[in-house]
């Protein structure tokens, strides 16, 4: 069960790297968020508690439904192209994804982290999510896509936290979730404002301030 979710997470990375339409990217990121939300239920095994279920549900609700809704709205209200418009083409992106995956497994071997998890590939998968997120942040042109990159990065960190620290205090978990929610919310508003001010949401054209 756990391994299926993890492989699906890796696959979703590649879909994100290879797809050309923003709306399908948002949908993929939503699916990835739902899978990340299911991870704690899958890793818990026998120690399934109410807290873990609540956390999983909260993540699924936020990443699977609230974020895509916010981003879709930002996309609808902006008059710009629905294409991804990458700096780095799709094929090189997919290759970079492969490279990131290989690097993740290598890094995991080097670090020898004390994991508690049921699956040995949880840590490398979380690394590959982080790498993919950072790659999307720098290699994509539109602001919406950068937010997606941030969400993928956060998914990676979330998976990583499940692997290495079994019990983060609940209050901190809630705080992290809250912050993430607000971050994406704020970014959504920022996109909206940038769009109404500039008539575009291409962040590479936000380049008046330099030096």
């Amino acid at each position: 069960m756990l391994d299926i979710v993890l492989v699906a997470l890796i696959l979703s990375n590649f879909v994100l790297l290879g797809s050309s339409r923003l709306s399908s990217c948002i949908r993929t990121a939503a699916l990835q968020g739902i899978m990340a939300g299911l991870l704690p239920l899958a890793t818990a095994g026998a120690g399934l508690s109410l807290r873990i279920v609540a956390l999983g549900l909260a993540v699924v609700a936020l990443k699977g439904f609230v974020f895509p809704h916010l981003l879709n709205r930002a996309l609808r209200e902006s008059a710009t192209s629905r294409e991804v418009q990458p700096f780095v083409g799709y094929t090189p992106s997919l290759l970079a994804g492969l490279l990131a995956l290989a690097a993740s497994f290598w890094l995991d071997g080097r670090l020898a982290l004390p994991t508690h998890s049921a699956s040995s590939i949880l840590v490398p998968v979380s690394f590959s999510l982080m790498f993919t997120g950072i790659f999307l942040l720098v290699a994509r042109r539109t602001a919406v896509n950068q937010v997606l990159g941030y969400i993928v990065l956060e998914n990676g960190i979330y998976a990583f936290s499940l692997a290495v620290v079994r019990d983060i205090p609940f209050l901190v978990e809630l705080g992290v979730l809250m912050d993430m929610f607000v971050a994406v919310f704020v970014m959504g508003i920022a996109i909206y404002r940038i769009n109404s001010e500039f008539d575009h949401i291409d962040s590479d054209r936000l380049s008046t301030l330099k030096g």
């Binding site: 670090l111 020898a112 982290l113 004390p114 982080m130 950072i134 942040l137 602001a143 950068q146 941030y150 990065l153 956060e154 960190i157 990583f160 936290s161 290495v164 620290v165 019990d167 983060i168 205090p169 209050l171 901190v172 705080g175 992290v176 809250m178 912050d179 607000v182 971050a183 704020v186 970014m187 920022a190 404002r193 940038i194 001010e197 500039f198 962040s203 936000l206 380049s207 008046t208 301030l209 030096g211």
Partner: protein
């Protein structure tokens, strides 16, 4: 004395209540008034709490999640000063906007809410003993202050906000990974669950931590929080955000936001250093990061034409200096604390003056600001004197802190570090004075609106400038003890 801890939750709750009050205020003027009075009240609470913390000891809230020791007490005082300077100058700075309606009630309410929100979030960073909670506070400050940059929306402020939001969110996300790695490193010591994130328990059993994981975690923490602190090469957002934000907000950004992020790195420094066997591994990273920041700032200060960007790069330099001092350790760490306090005071004052001069001369371009001493004596003096203090002219305190740091570097045998540091300081000295002198004295046409400053404005210029001057001439023993106690929290003095 035993009940001093009640002040800790009070400092977190009061700004939250004030934020609500600010968001419900009747007019823009009232909202700014609440900002000023509320910030002074919260600042008084912080100062009182800091005074109650004995040197080398700590005040802890039952449960252990919130805690104030000498390092956080010193930062609390700096924070109180910087926020008060920012809040007290706001009514004057926004008065035109209030009069012509561009700073209307809605904007003012939002401004007040965000102002107190950031105040509470930054206080939470300083007061928390839990590294996770500290992270939550830093992330919250990022999100709240992002909107303060574009209180009045312009294309430039939106661009700055987007860069700030994206770079700092990603940076802070990496810092969270670092925090997780630190917590994971405690696996072997028998600390588990909630305690693995408590700074006190990590510091107490630092020698038993997993060295590999601590190293990885510390690198992530330096990169992550370093982005927020503006350490080069992760500083790109800093000049944009500082130059586009309104002056009271720039004052808080430069004066305290950077320090708050650096504080998080300083918290983790003793843990990383003890875990790696006090071999100077973690300190070395800070020395390198500090030097790179100083030299980067020096390169950019020379080519600046925009006054607020110049001040922003100067902040980059000073954050680098504090980081360098903490990295050198010993006397260097003492000098770093001394420098941190004085830089915050000087930079907030410089932004106060710069904000008004930009308004009077109608632009950020330093070529337009000419003869400010005769055109607007108070603000001209304010900017000139604070710039002189910032570049390290004697007898201002910053001269002595930089001198002490240089001595510490040479005493430790790091001649190359000392030389690079000195080179950076000299370039900045020349680069800033080249602009500061014409801005103060060069002949130019007198602008039309000589606004007569009020008593509060005189005070927020005169008091900090007097403090800067006095700090170089005389250091009372309680201040010296406070610096020494704060420095010793960042590591054992070698």
């Amino acid at each position: 004395m035993t009940q001093a801890w009640v002040l800790i939750p009070a400092i977190l709750i009061l700004p939250a209540l004030l934020a609500v009050a600010g968001m419900l205020s009747r007019s823009a003027r009232v909202a700014l008034g609440i900002c000023a009075a509320g910030t002074v009240a919260t600042g008084a609470l912080m100062a009182a709490l800091a005074a109650l913390v004995p040197h080398g000891a700590a005040v802890t809230v039952p449960g252990g999640w919130l805690r104030v020791d000498s390092l956080s007490a010193l930062h609390l005082v700096v924070m109180a000063i910087v926020f008060c300077l920012g809040a007290l100058q706001a009514p004057g700075y926004f008065r035109h906007g209030v009069a012509d309606g561009s700073f209307d009630r809605r904007t003012a309410r939002r401004y007040a809410g965000l102002w107190f929100g950031s105040l509470a979030a930054m206080a939470a960073v300083l007061l928390s003993n839990n590294l996770g909670l500290m992270w939550v506070g830093i992330e919250a400050t990022t999100l709240l202050t992002a909107f303060l940059i574009c209180v009045t929306t312009t294309p430039g402020s939106l661009e700055a906000m987007w860069k700030y939001l994206l770079m700092c969110s990603v940076g802070v996300a990496l810092a969270f990974t670092g925090t997780l790695l630190l917590a994971a490193s405690a696996g072997r010591t028998g600390i588990h669950g909630t305690e693995a994130l408590l700074w006190t328990s990590l510091a107490a059993s630092a020698r038993g931590l997993d060295v590999q994981l601590v190293k990885a975690g510390f690198v992530f923490i330096v990169i992550g929080y370093g982005t927020k602190a503006g350490l080069a090469p992760m500083h790109n957002w800093l000049p944009d955000a500082h130059s586009q934000a309104p002056a009271p907000v720039s004052a808080v950004f430069s004066g305290f936001l950077l320090n708050a992020a650096l504080y998080c790195i300083l918290r983790c420094l003793p843990v990383a250093e003890a875990a790696t066997g006090d071999a100077g591994w973690a300190r070395g990273i800070l020395v390198a990061a500090g030097l790179v920041s100083i030299l980067t700032a020096a390169a950019f200060v020379v080519v600046q034409r925009d006054l607020k960007r110049l001040l922003a790069y100067s902040s980059l330099e000073h954050i680098g200096i504090v980081t360098l001092g903490a990295g050198i350790g010993g006397v260097g760490a003492f000098a770093a604390m001394y420098h941190m306090v004085l830089h915050s005071i000087a930079k907030s004052t410089a932004f106060t003056g710069a904000g008004r001069l930009i308004e009077i001369f109608g632009g950020n371009d330093m070529k337009r600001i000419r003869g400010s001493l005769s055109a607007a004596p108070l603000w001209g003096t304010c900017l000139l004197v604070s710039l002189l203090a910032l570049v390290g002219t004697a007898p201002f305190g910053l001269f002595f802190s930089e001198f002490m740091m240089l001595r510490a570097a040479f005493d430790a045998g790091s001649y190359a570090v000392g030389a690079a540091f000195l080179a950076g300081l000299s370039i900045v000295f020349i680069g800033v004075l080249r602009h500061a002198i014409p801005m103060a004295w060069a002949p130019g046409e007198k602008p039309a609106n000589p606004h007569v400053p009020g008593i509060v404005e005189w005070l927020i210029v005169a008091l900090p400038l007097a403090a800067l001057l006095l700090s170089g001439l005389w250091m009372p023993s309680f201040v010296r003890e406070a610096f020494a106690a704060a420095a010793s929290v960042t590591g054992v003095l070698p």
